[in-house]
Amino acid sequence: MTGELEMEDEGDVAVTVPERWQLRLYVAGMTPKSLTAFANLRRICDEHLEGKYSIEVIDLMVSPQLAKGDQILAIPTLVRRLPEPVKKIIGDLSDTDRVLVGLDIRPLG
C-alpha cells in the first residue's frame, strides 16, 4: 500500500512502472541463508507488491550453467528482471530498507 503511494510520489517514474514485477532469486542449495533470503523476499513483496510480482527461484547447485547468464557471483542474489533496468541485490535481504531502495520500490531517504 505504502509502496504504491510512494511510487506515486515519484511522479513520472511512478507512471512508467509496469504492473508486473519479475523477480529471480539465485540460491545454491537450501542453505539457511537462502531460506532467510526467500522468506525476507516473500515478506517484502507481500507487503509492497501484493499480487503484482512473480518470484523464480534458481538453485545453481541444480543448474550451474545459469550463473553465467545473469553474472551471478554472490549467493543469494535477487535479480529484478522487470521492470527494467535490471537490478541486482545481494545478501539475505534482511535489510528491508535497502531492498526497497535496490528494487526502486522506494527512493533512498
Binding site: P64, Q65, Q71, A74, T77, D92, L93, S94
Partner: protein
C-alpha cells in the same frame, strides 16, 4: 581431488610440477608451477600478467593436452581473442575444440545493492561448472581483485578468497591468479596472504627512458628456484624469460683454431688464429679498423662454410656491406647464401636485458658458429657499467657453453687507448687485440697489438694495420732510433734505407768490376809471358834438334871417312867417338 591424490602418491616428499611451456620459466622454476596449487602473478599495469596467464593456458592445451579455463574480470572474451590473435594464439579455435574456455565475469558496482549476509558461492559454482564442462586442468583468473571493487564488504570477501583458493586446490587444478601491484605490497589487496605456494613478480622498470621487463620468483614453497630478476620479452612469439645468470665455468674448451682472416695476424697467433669457442675483444679508438677486423674474421668463417651472426649496434646491414666492399670484402654474397646474418638495432631501442634476450633468441634461431658484437661499448649508453658487465659475462658464458666464438669490438674513448676497457670486462675475454692510433709526422696510422691471448704464444710485436683495396694487411713497423714509425714515416724510412742499400750495392758492384778488370789484365800479362816463353822454348828446341842433326851428320861422315880409309873396324862408342871425332877433328 581423487586424481590429484593418486598422482601425488608416487612422488614422495616432493610435489609434481606443472610445466608452463613458456620459454625459460620452466628452467627458473625447476620444472614449472606447483601442480594442483594456485600461483600468484603480481605486477604493475601493463607488465604482462594477463599474457603470462593466457600463455600458460594456451601452452597447456597445445603442448601438454591440458584444457584450461580463463576467467576474466577485466576483458571480455572477444577482446581477449582479438588481443591474443596478435600474438599468434588462435583462441577461437581452442574454444571451438573445447580445449579452452573463456569466461568473462562482469561486475558493476552500481548494479549491485548489498543487503545482509552473502557469500560468493555463485562464483564458485560458475568456476566449477566451467572447469568440469571441459575437464580443465589449468585455470587462470585475471584479476580476482576486481571483486574488491564490486563488493564493499571486505570481511566477507577475504573469507571467500581464502575459500576460493581452497576450492581451486580441491578441484586439483593448477591455477594462475593475477594481482595488481600495490603501493607497498605485492598486490593491492594483499592476495599474497592467500596464495602461499608460489608468487611470481613481474616488473616493468624504466631507467633512462628505457623500459625493461623483469620477472622474479618471490616465493616457491617446497622447491628450489632461481632467485634473481630475470629479464623477459613479450613479442609475437609470446613470453620468453631468460634463465641466464652466470651458468658456471665448466664449459668445455676446444683446442681447434680458427683463422682470423688475416694471414699475418694468424702468424702472430702461433700461425693458427684464435681458439674456437673463445672470446675475442678488439678495442680501439674511433676509426682504427675494428669493424674491418671483424669483417675479415666473418669473411674467413663464411668461406669455411660456418654460420655467422653479426649484431651491429652502429651501422645498418647495407652500410656494413658497402663499407667492407671498399676493402675488398664481399659480405653480401654470404648473406645471400644464408651463412651470414645481420641483426641491426639501436642500443637505445630497448634495455640491456632485452638486448640480451633478443640476442639469445637470435642465436637459438640461427645456430651460428661465430657471433660478432659490434660494438659492445654502445650498450653502455643504455645501462650502467655493472649491468653491462653482468650482461656480457652472461652472454659470454652462454656462448662458451655453446662453443660459439665471440668477437666483440669496443670503442675506447679519446686518444688514450690504454689497457683499460670501459666495461672492465677484459678479464672475461680470452684474446684481446688493441688497435691504436700511432700519431706522428702529421698523420695517424693504425697499430695493432695483441695484448693477450690465453693459451698460446702470441707475438709481442706491434704491427701496422693497413686497410688496402685487397683487405687488411699487417706491416712491420719501423723500429729504430727515431722510435716506432708507421705510415708515411715508415715509407720514408724504408725509402731512405733503400737508397742506402742501393748506394752500397753500387759500390760493391764497382769494386767487383775493378777486380774483374785487374784479373783480366793479369791474365793477359800471363798470356803474353807464356807466349814469349813458348817462343823461346821453340827456338831453343829447334837449336837443340839442329845441333843433334849436326852431330849425327858428323858422326856419319867420320864413319864414312873411316871406312874409306879402311880403318879398324873397332866400333867407337857413338858419343865418345863423335866427341872424340869432333875433338879429333878439331
Amino acid at each position: 581431488m581423487a586424481e590429484t591424490t593418486l598422482q601425488e602418491i608416487p612422488v614422495l616428499e616432493t610435489f609434481q610440477k606443472c610445466p608452463t611451456g613458456i620459454k625459460g620459466l620452466d628452467e627458473i622454476t625447476g620444472g614449472g608451477l606447483p601442480q594442483g596449487r594456485p600461483t600468484l602473478i603480481c605486477g604493475g599495469a601493463g607488465c604482462g600478467k594477463t599474457l603470462l596467464a593466457m600463455e600458460f593456458l594456451v601452452r597447456g592445451t597445445t603442448e601438454y593436452d591440458e584444457p584450461g579455463v580463463f576467467i576474466s574480470f577485466e576483458e571480455k572474451s572477444e577482446e581477449l581473442t582479438k588481443n591474443f590473435a596478435s600474438l599468434g594464439f588462435d583462441l577461437n579455435d581452442l574454444v571451438a575444440r573445447e580445449k579452452l574456455l573463456l569466461d568473462y565475469v562482469h561486475i558493476e558496482r552500481s548494479e549491485i545493492e548489498e543487503t545482509g549476509e552473502y557469500d560468493l558461492e555463485g562464483l564458485f559454482i560458475r568456476m566449477g561448472y566451467a572447469i568440469d564442462s571441459i575437464g580443465a586442468k589449468r585455470v587462470a583468473i585475471d584479476t580476482i581483485e576486481a571483486l574488491f571493487s564490486g563488493f564493499s564488504n571486505e570481511t566477507i570477501l577475504r573469507a571467500e578468497l581464502r575459500r576460493l583458493f581452497r576450492f581451486l586446490k580441491g578441484k586439483g587444478v593448477t591455477a594462475v591468479i593475477t594481482g595488481e601491484q600495490g603501493e607497498r605490497t605485492l598486490t593491492r589487496f594483499g592476495l599474497e596472504e592467500y596464495v602461499a605456494d608460489c608468487v611470481i613478480f613481474l616488473s616493468h622498470q624504466v631507467v633512462n627512458q628505457i623500459a625493461t621487463r623483469r620477472l622474479r620468483i618471490i616465493k616457491y614453497r617446497g622447491s628450489a628456484h632461481g632467485t634473481n630478476e630475470y629479464p623477459f620479452l613479450l613479442d609475437e612469439q609470446g613470453f620468453s624469460v631468460m634463465p641466464i645468470s652466470s651458468i658456471g665455468l665448466d664449459h668445455s674448451a676446444s683446442s681447434e683454431r680458427v683463422s682470423t682472416g688475416i694471414q699475418r695476424l694468424d702468424t702472430m697467433l702461433e700461425g693458427k688464429g684464435y681458439y674456437r669457442g673463445s672470446s675475442i675483444l678488439v678495442t680501439g679508438s674511433a676509426g682504427t679498423g675494428k669493424s674491418s677486423l671483424a669483417a675479415h674474421f666473418v669473411d674467413a668463417a663464411c668461406r669455411r662454410g660456418e654460420r655467422c651472426l653479426y649484431f651491429a649496434f652502429e651501422e645498418s646491414r647495407n652500410q656494413i656491406i658497402r663499407n667492407m666492399r671498399s676493402i675488398g670484402l664481399d659480405l653480401g654474397q654470404w648473406v645471400d647464401k644464408g651463412v651470414l646474418e645481420f641483426r641491426n638495432s639501436r642500443p637505445t631501442l630497448y634495455g640491456l636485458e632485452m638486448h640480451l634476450v633478443a640476442m639469445h633468441r637470435a642465436i637459438e634461431e640461427f645456430q651460428p658458429a661465430i657471433v660478432v658484437i659490434d660494438p659492445i661499448s654502445n650498450l653502455m649508453s643504455v645501462a650502467s657499467e655493472m649491468e653491462v658487465k653482468s650482461m656480457l659475462s652472461r652472454l659470454i658464458d652462454y656462448l662458451k657453453m655453446k662453443e660459439i666464438t665471440a668477437f666483440c669490438s669496443a670503442l675506447t674513448v679519446g686518444g688514450a687507448a690504454g689497457d683499460r676497457t670501459e666495461e672492465g670486462m677484459s678479464s672475461l675475454m680470452d684474446s684481446w687485440i688493441l688497435l691504436q692510433s700511432l700519431e706522428g709526422d702529421g698523420e695517424r696510422n693504425r697499430g695493432l697489438y695483441i695484448l693477450k691471448s690465453r693459451g698460446m704464444q702470441h707475438s709481442n710485436q706491434v704491427r701496422e694495420f693497413c686497410l688496402t683495396d685487397n683487405g687488411a694487411k699487417l706491416q712491420d713497423v719501423y723500429v729504430g732510433p727515431g722510435g716506432v714509425l708507421a705510415g708515411a714515416g715508415r715509407i720514408a724510412q724504408e725509402a731512405r734505407e733503400k737508397a742506402d742499400a742501393l748506394g752500397r750495392s753500387q759500390e760493391i758492384e764497382c769494386k767487383q768490376r775493378d777486380l774483374e778488370r785487374k784479373k783480366a789484365l793479369m791474365e793477359a800479362q800471363i798470356a803474353a809471358l807464356r807466349i814469349g816463353f813458348d817462343t823461346e822454348v821453340d827456338e831453343l828446341e829447334r837449336a837443340i834438334s839442329r845441333g843433334k842433326l849436326h852431330r849425327e851428320a858428323v858422326a856419319r861422315d867420320t864413319l864414312t871417312m873411316g871406312r874409306a880409309r879402311a880403318a879398324d873396324d873397332t866400333p867407337i862408342p857413338e858419343g865418345n867417338g863423335a866427341r872424340n871425332g869432333k875433338g879429333e877433328r878439331r
